[in-house]
């Protein structure tokens, strides 16, 4: 993965030194000095080998576009993205499960149709447009949320609790924008799962025992649909992180998506490689979290793990 990224960035035209030359006349000797300063006068293989050797020692290199070690740059971006993804995930789960349940309240009834159309519409809307509309409606016309950034000016001087609340307040609107599209897809998934579960024997038996309809859906049918939802959610975690790029740009928030995007534009190769490495770790962590969640939600999976199968 890292080798492919390195080759792709190397194959693209231009170098980081071109950033300086862009639209400013630069004497040839000044360009040569710059390329030497960026280490671009060495062969690509030598540079890649040096990066791999340093990365193995925990040194991910220097970011030319952010003037800091790559590990620091990643360390600053990751929490912001995780908070955003956390908010997005919360919105996705709460909204997706609620809408999915609403769908089966009266299958093929008015509510089901309206929720279907609304869900499909939201899922079809581009995230950047949804973000801009959210800013216009909820940060400008009705100023309930901040329009950008991850914290208020001067928040550094506040108490930890106030800072945490401030961070969540800033992440709420972009998180909702990030999660709402995924929620529409999840609602369709939940709807299908619930409709299938409601036809199962154990649900019909519960209904025959006189279990009220609400309890029947939430406690019996919904629980049966949880395992695939947990898997879906775990797998979607890396997608939420990478999908945060557009939201991070529109809302002016720091984060992994924007970092990777800026680094590609700036030809900041160490940061590009660092974000790929971090993304790979997130995919593995997301898959592991999905497996653990599945073991918690599905006794059969737990038994299989315990039994070594």
């Amino acid at each position: 993965m890292l080798t492919a990224t390195f080759v792709l960035v190397e194959a693209a035209p231009g170098t980081a030194a071109d950033l300086l030359a862009e639209e400013r006349p630069l004497p040839p000797e000044a360009r040569a000095r710059l390329e030497a300063a960026f280490g671009l006068d060495r062969p690509p293989l030598a540079r890649y080998g040096a990066w791999i050797a340093a990365a193995a020692r925990g040194d991910l290199g220097w970011s030319t576009s952010r003037g800091r070690p790559v590990s620091q740059v990643l360390g600053a971006a990751l929490p912001a993205t995780l908070l955003l993804a956390g908010c997005g995930l919360t919105v996705q789960l709460v909204l997706g499960l609620s809408l999915g349940t609403l769908h089966v309240w009266r299958p093929r009834g008015g509510v089901d149709h309206v929720a279907s159309v609304a869900g499909l519409t939201v899922a079809s809307v581009p995230t950047f447009w949804l973000g801009l509309m959210a800013i216009l409606a909820l940060a400008y016309r009705l100023p309930l949320f901040p329009p950008s950034s991850s914290h208020s000016i001067g928040a550094e001087a506040w108490s930890p609790a106030a800072r945490a609340l401030d961070a969540v307040w800033h992440a709420a609107l972009p998180g909702a924008v990030l999660g709402v599209g995924a929620a529409a897809a999840l609602a369709r998934y939940v709807r299908a799962g619930l409709l299938r579960a409601l036809g199962e024997g154990f649900v019909r038996a519960a209904k025959a025992r006189g279990v009220p309809p609400g309890t029947l859906v939430v406690r019996h049918a919904l629980r049966a649909t949880l395992p695939p939802i947990v898997t879906l959610t775990g797998i979607s975690l890396p997608t939420l992180v990478s999908g945060s790029l557009v939201v991070e740009v529109v809302f002016g928030r720091p984060g992994m998506g924007r970092l990777a995007y800026d680094a590609v534009l700036a030809r900041d190769l160490p940061v590009v490689l660092g974000t790929v490495l971090a993304g790979t770790v997130l995919v593995v962590a997301g898959t592991l979290a999905a497996d653990l969640g599945l073991a918690w939600a599905d006794p059969r999976a737990r038994a299989a793990v315990a039994g070594g199968g």
Binding site: A12, P13, G14, T15, D18, L19, L20, A21, E22, E23, R24, P25, L26, P27, P28, A30, R31, A32, R33, L34, A36, A37, F38, W62, T64, S65, R66, G67, R68, P69, Q72, V73, A76, A77, L132, I135, L136, A139, Y140, P143, P147, S148, S149, S150, H151, I153, G154, E156, V249, V250, F251, G252, R253, P254, G255, R258, L259, D262, A266, R267
Partner: protein, 520 residues
């Protein structure tokens, strides 16, 4: 350069602001919030590449003197900053500055040794400062005593003072602890020192830059605001919404298309200022028929550049006559841009064997993301079609465009040149600056232009240089290696509580940051 002010009159003495009538007395306090679409990259002027960082660094590390915007009729005058006075020696080769005797923000005196150290850094190959060519004629910088420093040049020329003061002076006792070879891999955001009105307080990459007032700023009139926060939001639409909602006070780089909507909306206003830059169409001089000056002139005659300025710049700009910006003293006011004359263009092209049945076909490239140039390409396509030229606009990523133009695989492209301090005509039009190393990507070769550029290098005073510049401009006007399109103005938008905003230094909207105050 035009002096453009809003909310406050111009004052030549530093830190002595004179409020305009009706604005009331300046008020102290508050935090100015600036919106920017790009972040800083490094907090050292000599390794930074980003305009945002460099403009802010100029408010942290002062120069010996500050170039003013009065460049229309003569070379710019300079306002004292770290230096109080300066004078040339009898031989015309030494320039002596006397420092004001201020202190760095940590209390250490600012001395001539700091100036000498800065010159060493500026000229160090390990630092590789892109502006190092401004120091190439300075042979030595000597600390005569603690507050007297002498620059020794190898010959006299018009821009000696401008070259000597180029670049902020950095403190040797802090910056000297880092070897030059490590400057590009050092985190300068933690230096926590400066000589200017503001100091860097914190930097959250990709999000926020915070400046605070320097308590030891050498000028007795302190900045009005307590601090400046730069909010980095890469989306201009979001920034403009924030300006209108009052979350942001100032945005630089508003597009002309958005200007009408913003000006006057919710108390916002605009400050247009001259940007030392021109856009052009570069014709591939190494490829027929663009190697023929007559064909290039015909193409220029077929492009209605007034219409481009009116329709696409919304009047915020002017048609360009050549590479010498009209607001700079080297420009020759008698040299007029080629007119829009499609009949004459068609006549020349017919003479060269082109016509409706045998059209001249060309591909016109522009860099992706520059919406103005993309629109210009479409408009030029439409105009060239009227004289039977089939132009196909093609948008490519900036560095792909650079590579295509440097390798000669193109017909024409829309580009721009930005100048800082001096016009480096040799790099863009000299036959010794051809690709791959040089910037003369249109492969323009003219022995006469080379000779004139050489003569420019020997001029010892600005009047002699102006005459040489005028001859070069006429030669380029005749040869048209470029179709010089326009000089676009840049726009700063300010919110309703901002007072005292002024842009009177070329291309630096933050140059008078300390004069801005916030109405309550």
């Amino acid at each position: 350069m035009a002096v453009v002010a809003l909310g406050c009159g111009r004052s030549d003495a530093p830190g002595n602001p004179a409020p305009a009538a009706g604005q009331g007395a300046p008020q102290r306090g508050g935090t100015l919030v600036v919106g920017a679409i790009t972040d800083a990259d490094a907090w050292n002027e000599y390794v930074s590449q980003q305009t945002t960082a460099i403009n802010l660094l100029r408010r942290i590390y002062l120069r010996l003197a500050q170039e003013q915007g009065d460049t229309k009729d003569h070379p710019p005058s300079f306002q004292p900053l770290l230096a109080n006075t300066w004078s040339f020696g009898g031989d015309g080769l030494t320039l002596t500055f006397r420092l004001r005797g201020g202190a760095w923000s940590d209390g250490t005196p600012i001395t001539a040794n700091d100036v000498r150290f800065t010159w060493k850094a500026q000229t160090s190959p390990e630092v590789a400062w892109p502006g190092a060519s401004s120091k190439e004629r300075i042979k030595d910088v000597r600390a005569v005593d603690a507050t007297t420093v002498e620059f020794v040049f190898d010959r006299a020329y018009p821009e000696m003072l401008a070259d000597a003061v180029e670049g902020g002076i950095v403190p040797e006792h802090v910056f000297g602890k880092v070897p030059f070879k490590d400057w590009r891999t050092h985190d300068w955001s933690t230096a926590g020192i400066g000589s200017g009105p503001f100091l860097l307080s914190s930097w959250k990459p990709g999000e926020e830059i915070a400046l605070v007032r320097n308590p030891r700023y050498l000028d007795p009139v302190r900045p009005y605001v307590d601090g400046v926060v730069v909010r980095v939001v890469p989306d201009m639409g979001n920034l403009q919404t924030q300006l209108l909602s009052g979350s942001v006070d100032l945005i630089d780089g508003v597009s002309p298309a958005d200007a009408k909507r913003l000006d006057g909306a919710r108390g916002a206003s605009l400050i247009p200022y001259d940007n030392p830059m021109f856009d052009y169409i570069g014709w591939n001089g190494a490829k027929p028929p663009f190697d023929d000056p007559a064909v290039r002139r015909a193409l220029t005659l077929a492009i209605d550049r007034e219409a481009v300025v009116d329709d696409l710049l919304f009047g915020y700009g002017r048609v360009s006559a050549g590479p010498l910006l009209s607001s700079w003293w080297p420009a020759d006011a008698t040299l007029k841009p080629w007119p829009y004359d499609p009949q004459e263009a068609e006549r020349i092209l017919t003479q060269k064997g082109y016509g409706r049945d045998h059209p001249l076909k060309l591909e016109l490239m522009s860099n992706a993301g520059n919406r103005l140039r993309e629109a210009v390409a479409v408009k030029v396509q439409e105009q060239l079609a009227k004289v039977g030229v089939a132009a196909t606009p093609r948008t490519v990523e900036m560095r792909a465009l650079r590579e295509a133009s440097a390798s000669g695989r193109y017909d024409a492209y829309i580009g721009g040149w930005r100048f800082s301090g001096k016009l480096d005509l040799k790099s863009i039009f000299g036959s010794g600056s051809l690709p791959p190393g040089g910037s003369n990507v249109v492969a323009y070769r003219s022995p006469e232009t080379d000779r004139l550029i050489g003569a420019l290098g020997t001029a010892t005073d600005w009047r002699g240089a102006k005459s040489a510049y005028a001859q070069i401009a006429r030669q380029l006007h005749s040869d048209q290696p470029y179709t010089f399109l326009y000089e676009a103005e840049r726009l700063v938008a300010i919110g309703p509580r901002v007072r005292g905003a002024v842009v009177d230094v070329p291309a630096d909207p933050f140059a008078r940051l300390e004069r801005i105050w916030l109405a309550r």
